[in-house]
Symmetry: C2
Subunit: 360 residues, 2 copies
């Protein structure tokens, strides 16, 4: 893969609408009232369009957890200290986090990508480092209340690193990728992206994240307002928004989504932070929404606004707000089920033939 | 099992609230912000209460599809002819229906219970009859626009047959049962139950079922109004409501739910028809709600009213309206995932120990 970002963006194309029409024809023949399984049909047909096939395969799955730290964490915007980012990377590799339990249940591999963790990872002492991808851009972003989070060059680098890691998984036969995130402070960065891109109000977009108290919430809001006033990111320039108020892991997620669209594979976007990445990907190339599924609706209040902006309906609504890719992993089970309905259920003709055999 | 219905109702008890408190303590220790996986925690803790254990097991699963015909089908309340009920039983046994695809995906066995199908089943010619339970009460209910659907004795018989079939599954080691239904005309019967028990309006409770046109919808509404006026079922007497406007398969579902509560096992209630059965079970014994999960919110408009009446929140909302147990089967995947989160995720203490080992 030697593509530049502009090569990638040029190649991404909309999905094949003709196959979607054919897939709807198959749905109409299934032995049930018309479209009686609701969104399961929509999901299966979207997969058909993405892959250009009437027999989509989502068997081999992976969750890519992009991790990075945020200079803005110094402003007291999180209920947890920055060291938690590195600690959780160790927990992911040890298989003990929420995402590990849910990915195992979904039959998905968990890969962890260091996009820019502040603390040096003791790689030699970590378990299962075959699941770790070292793509660190810097030891965390800058505090964006004072300076842009990163340079425009670093923003492009973050996107392309995400693109490359995901492309590698697709090259190894992965059919379906889910995005995940880890980074203390990243709901603040995501709120900044969401507010800028979706033109939302501060109260609608900033929530409690991991669970800050009311003072912390007020600090988060003033931090986001300050950063947007200071840097004035251009709401139609994905790299500008990412550079000024984003994060390295958010850039990686955007690149992962672009990779899915580039390789004509489906991607399940997790919650608030992943969808901030999806907003960046969408600004870079609007077609990539064709390849996205929204795994769930997060408890974080701004998430619904982001999804509406992208025109995506969440598959699950379970009051979750963990990130890590947990909503994506859980939704993979539904996506899997949708494929089974589409491919395994008899048609009315087959069921009638079966019934005639029985009564003969 | 020689219990009478009154024995069963006497033995059913509320769940152990102390274990639920202990389970919440375990959730609080998991390596994530407090209750960050939302309803997954609620589900796991409810399972702990049901089984009286901190390590609930939902590995062995079954969907019990109760099938029966309805005299009221003669009033033109369905988009499909009555023969479809028997045909679909053949499809279930052949493994080709929506419920088969979704139950396979959930790892659940599908059992089909003939509670009173109008057409004689050609049992010798049917495939996989080891999955068929013959519990027929009559060749369909009576047309309840003219006479009660069944006698009170038949209503009790239907409930106890459902109880026995489900008890047999639990005795064979099943951990989790999902309810399913098949019966042309049964959204009309279910709407009658819902309107009577939930005191809902006819417009809120009667929907298009398998997809009747506007004339069919008007017929359904007038049929339900007529039946309730004619029979005046007593809204606090489950057997009276079931006998006057119910169905054999709905009675079977009510009995299946009572069996779960009796054996202290969880039951996933499917959509509109199954929840009508749950309303009957709840009238017979209010404690049984403690043992129920609502698999999904059906597209059928009255379903949300029924769930609210029972105080249950649906796990999924995917615009489904097939019945057969499909919403229950799909929700089993989420319930399974909730158990894995509860039992497999590290505590903060374990994750910290892991992190210290790494940095030493």
């Amino acid at each position: 893969m030697n593509e530049t970002l502009s090569d990638v963006l040029e190649i991404i194309a909309p999905v094949d609408k003709e196959i979607v029409t054919k897939a709807r024809g198959r749905t109409a023949q299934l032995v049930m009232p018309p479209r009686a399984l609701g969104k399961l049909h929509d999901i299966a047909e979207k997969l058909c369009g993405i892959g250009g096939t009437l027999s989509p395969d989502v068997n081999k799955k992976a969750i890519l957890v992009f991790a990075g730290d945020h200079g803005v964490a110094r402003e007291g915007v999180s209920a947890y200290p920055q060291d938690i980012t590195a600690m959780m990377v160790g927990t992911f590799l040890a298989g003990g986090a929420g995402i590990n339990a849910l990915a195992r249940h979904a039959g998905a591999e968990v890969l962890v990508v260091d996009m820019g963790i502040a603390k040096a990872l003791a790689v030699k002492a970590l378990p299962n480092t075959d699941k770790l991808r070292m793509q660190s851009i810097a030891k965390g972003t800058r505090n964006f209340t004072r300076a842009p989070a990163m340079t425009r060059k670093q923003a492009e680098e973050a996107v392309m690193k995400g693109f490359l890691v995901a492309s590698e998984s697709f090259a190894q036969g992965c059919h379906l990728i889910g995005t995940g995130d880890m980074g203390i402070g990243n709901t603040t960065a995501s709120a900044g992206i969401g507010m800028c891109v979706c033109k939302a109000s501060i109260d609608d977009m900033v929530g409690r994240g991991t669970g800050v108290d009311s003072e912390g919430l007020a600090r988060k809001k003033s931090v986001v307002v300050k950063a947007l006033e200071l840097h004035q990111p251009s709401a139609d320039d994905g790299l500008d928004v990412l550079a000024k108020v984003g994060g390295f892991e958010i850039g990686g997620i955007a690149g992962c989504i672009l990779a899915a669209a580039f390789h004509k594979k489906p991607v399940v976007v997790d919650g608030f932070i992943s969808t901030a990445g999806a907003l960046i990907a969408h600004l870079l190339c609007a077609h990539c929404v064709d390849y996205m599924f929204a795994g769930h609706l997060s408890e974080e209040p701004g998430h619904g606004i982001m999804l509406k902006h992208l025109g995506l309906e969440p598959i699950l609504q379970l009051g979750m707000r963990l990130g890590e890719g947990t909503g994506a992993a859980l939704a993979m089970g539904i996506i899997d089920a949708a494929v089974h309905v589409h491919t395994d259920v008899m048609t009315f003709a087959e069921a009638n033939r079966q019934a005639r055999l029985v009564s003969d």
